[in-house]
Assembly symmetry: C2
């Protein structure tokens, strides 16, 4: 069977695959620091050369920021776009690294062999799993594994300022049947996962004003309303005793999880005690009739991300302040309309204002939740391929946060995305001593070979 | 009648009294700024010379800070101590003054003649009302109006660091039958007032901690408890719907106002609409079954003076913070035990903490409320004297804040104090363009002559 030959080739070539990854890891492509602009361009050029050597029509495309790498190649009925990013996070604080972040090394650890370097997991190592799968396929078959477009960004760690304009300007060549994104992780170390639900986000800032100037609490305390009192009173009611959010219409449109997904999640060995224990907590704080995974992946939330008012310095000042402020955000799930919800929240705040107070709102960003059409055959095919490689059923999972690129593929190019990645929770991405497990790199390459065998 | 002669003498000598006050106002005795230390000493010396010229045994007493002025004189059955302060606030921002703050001038304004200068009302003008009353008395009678000790401080505007040690070191000569303090105001412009109730103060700072590090609300939101949510939930319950404070035992020991005082307060033309309207409010925010004057003078309060947590800068950060903070203070009334109350508040907070959160308290200052023994005949005598001068019944009033000197006379020297002053709300003390109404200065001198005629 030809897939077996590809997998055998991957196994045999692993040391060389690691060597190639290490060459890429040696390029300090820190996108946020202009001092490393030439290194970013060099990383792009390195990838272009690698892809050209595999037969891709690859080029580095200039942008107002760092270049994009776009490569086309292969033939097939289904056009797949693969996305990754070659830029990395800064390395500060450098003193906490045990070795040069850009001098990669394979190290033995109690938990297995790791590739240690900035970008090993985020995202150079993950990006290279796909490239190495293509390489093995080419070596065995002489052709690429289907009609492929590879799209590597160099600004993911610095806000992707060029991404949307570039996607719009190059929509024709970037639009495929489905996008594959390799920038996520396994579920709990050994269970492969495809992220199919992403929560949206709505941000609000509010300022409550009472007296027209700061007052002295000796002079006015008792008779004058204190805006902090009003703010805490309102926000203190944002959740009821069971953790449910009290804003009217907040749950309008929120749907129950499909049974198939619910069954998959129940089968997942999610250790919520460890998840919370890692941050010194023990009791899930969301709706008490929901499981922790539901709280994180499929249920909306309301959080006070910041609050301030009055005197906050050292010592004490008996001020009765003129105003008080908070930043509140909502994680949204499919079915919730961000604009409508903003209105409901504001109505709810206004309805609780005492006569003498006013409120001013400032809208921060909002984005709807994302949900992939998992009924598309590609999702089931990928799931089977991952299950075979890892020896455990792959799961369609949710993601509590937002992954903007997935939304952009949907809104700019009109295509669904499958988010498949092989990172682990202890990879220390964005932190000192980042690593990528050799097993993840190896099985990641094999996973893509299996996925591509089924999808193309 | 000899009092009439004294009053006539005061009227006749008013221009000279103003001239003398202006001489004192020309000395820039800013106590908080070391650059003015020599000026503070000069103000003290100026007062010593004035008092000596009236026959007092007066001297400037060195302290580690600015000197105290102590003067003894006269004979009588009742020993009275008079307190004032010769130091003044800084004058920043100087650009907002319409003339040199230390070049005093008598000005005509739509509301009458004023003496304009830093310190005119706080406290040089008020202090001099007593000195000028003594002068007129001496001119008419050849003696001082009773057994008097005058005690002028030079550090009142900079925290009075030398005050308590000096009082302790000179307790014998400073202890009198009663203290007279001239550093307060009239009630609503034309009603004389004696402050007989001062609220106390208790300060608490609390920090609520949840997760052991700041979390990302995408990753943890919904499952991890947010300390700001806990803080707002607890503090949002500090008052009930009627404005009453919900901490158990908070009202333990709080007594209803004596009927005589209640009747006086009801007779006061307190314009609470104007009081609140001046700061753009309209609805009294305290206990709804209490009058605004009760809220301010005789009822305890709870205020959140500061609150902070999470991200408070520009833009937005979806942080789920590790901790949240607040500063809370309580204005206390007679009968409340500050130490017990601190414990009740802490118990109340702890009882509402979720399992995963901890709270840390930091105690800020506390001082009990003060209440004078108005049954002492001196209070009624002073009240009658003031009523005669102003043509309106003088009131025993409360003060929402604390006036430390009154507490020190009680706790260090064991004597009650009568707080009698002639300031008006628009005197701009501590602000640019401070003034003292000529009428207040004039009738203030006359008031003291009348009070002294009855007290000594």
């Amino acid at each position: 069977m030809s897939l077996d030959k590809v997998l055998a080739r991957i196994d045999a070539d692993l040391d060389q695959s690691v060597s190639r990854l290490m060459a890429l890891l040696r390029i300090p492509s820190i996108s946020t620091d202009p001092a490393y602009a030439a290194d970013c361009a060099r990383a792009a050029d390195w990838l272009v050369a690698e892809l050209q050597s595999l037969g891709f029509d690859a080029s580095s495309r200039p942008t107002p920021g760092h270049p994009m790498v776009v490569a086309h190649g292969g033939q097939g009925a289904r056009h797949l776009l693969f996305y990754g990013h070659y830029d990395v996070q800064p390395v500060d604080p450098l003193a906490l690294w045990h070795r040069d972040p850009f001098d990669p090394e394979v190290q033995d650890t109690p938990k297995g062999r790791v590739i240690r370097a900035r970008g090993a997991a985020d995202d150079k190592g993950q990006l290279m799993t796909f490239v190495e799968a293509c390489r093995a396929w080419k070596a065995v078959h002489g052709t690429l594994p289907g009609k492929l477009t590879l799209f590597f960004e160099g600004e993911e760690e610095s806000g992707s300022p060029s991404l949307i304009p570039f996607m719009k300007d190059h929509a024709a060549e970037l639009t495929a049947d489905i996008a594959l994104i390799c920038d996520t992780g396994l579920f709990e170390d050994t269970t492969p996962a495809i992220v199919t639900m992403l929560r949206g986000l709505l941000g609000e800032e509010l300022t409550i004003r009472g007296p027209d100037k700061d007052l002295h609490s000796g002079m006015y305390g008792g008779a004058a309303i204190n805006p902090i009192r009003v703010l805490t009173r309102i926000l203190g009611r944002l959740h009821d005793e069971t953790g449910r959010i009290t804003v009217p219409h907040f749950y309008d449109g929120v749907q129950e999880l499909p049974e198939a997904i619910r069954a998959q999640w129940q089968a997942l060995a999610f250790d919520h005690a460890k998840f919370l224990g890692d941050v010194d907590l023990s009791v899930p704080a969301g709706e008490q009739d929901r499981t922790p995974l539901e709280m994180l992946w499929s249920r909306p939330t309301a959080e006070i991300n910041g609050i301030w008012g009055g005197y906050t310095g050292d010592g004490f000042k008996t001020v009765l302040p003129s105003e008080a402020h908070a930043k509140v955000s909502f994680r949204l799930v499919p079915g919730q309309d961000p604009d409508a919800l903003r209105g409901h929240f504001r109505d709810w705040v206004r309805a609780q204002l005492p006569a003498d107070c006013t409120v001013e709102f400032h809208a921060h960003g909002n984005g709807p939740a994302g949900v992939m059409s998992v009924e598309a055959p590609a999702f089931d095919a990928a799931r089977q391929a991952l299950s075979e490689e890892w020896g455990k059923p792959a799961a369609f999972v949710g993601c509590g946060g937002s992954i903007p690129i997935a939304g952009y593929f949907k809104t700019v190019l009109g295509m669904d995305a499958m988010l498949i990645g092989f990172g682990r929770d202890d990879d220390l991405i964005h932190s000192p001593n980042e690593k990528y497990d050799l097993e993840c790199f190896h099985k990641g390459i094999r996973s893509w070979a299996r996925v591509l065998a089924r999808l193309t």
